[in-house]
Amino acid sequence: MPENKNTDYLNYIDKTAPKSPMLKNVLLAFLIGGLICVVGQLIGDFYQKICGLDTDSMRTAVSVTMVFLGALLTGLDLYPKIAKHAGAGTIVPITGFANSITSPAMEFKREGLVLGMSAKMFVVAAPVLVYGISSSVVVGIIYFLYKVLIGG
């Protein structure tokens, strides 16, 4: 990447631009992200203790439920309102993943249900799936070779 020549100017901007309230952002991300995880824990305890799901099924059920809640709150325009304050606190949990699919799906509906809504719903989520699934294949290759060569 080309080095930016305007370092003096950028330093000047850094000094004079209003300080972004980083501490406040980080605290809000911590609080709201933490709270979303507590909600996930509550839902998980409900599935495990009341519905009697085993741990693996419980985790999948929690993901599915949280994804539903993220999508619904996006539809109701509540998730973006929380996200305005919470930043990464609403982006990083799996509810944010649901939001990142639902939000463009709603926005591009006017361009049609196939090439608009359905094609563009993955604009943020697709990279997550591409890198996530590719990583899992790499992990699988390494694990397979490890087992074959070392006999783990």
């Binding site: 980083m22 979303i36 990464a88 606190g89 982006i91 990083v92 709603m106 890198y131």
Partner: protein, 117 residues
Amino acid sequence: MQYLNAFWVGGLICAIAQILIDKTKLTPARILVLYVVIGAALGGIGIYDKIVDYAGAGATVPLIGFGNVLANGVKEAVDSEGLLGVITGGASAAAGGISAAVFFAFLIALIFNPKAK
């Protein structure tokens, strides 16, 4: 106790992402990609399950947990199916989350319209 651990570990994972967004030029989409790859790596070497044992949903709800699910799935599939599991394991394990995300997003977007800006 599990709730406290879920709160602070989940909160910390989000706070680190917020610091990365504020301090670097990383966009939220890149943070998500970074987190899922980190999760797959930590899951691959078997560390992340220890954090999941400690923090429960605090470790599974953030997207790093999604990467961990992918890695655990691929390892289990390699154990049971051998080489074919390398390809099938990750997506099979993540199928619940992915299908839910696709279907619920589809459904919600059909029902609701975006708020006029």
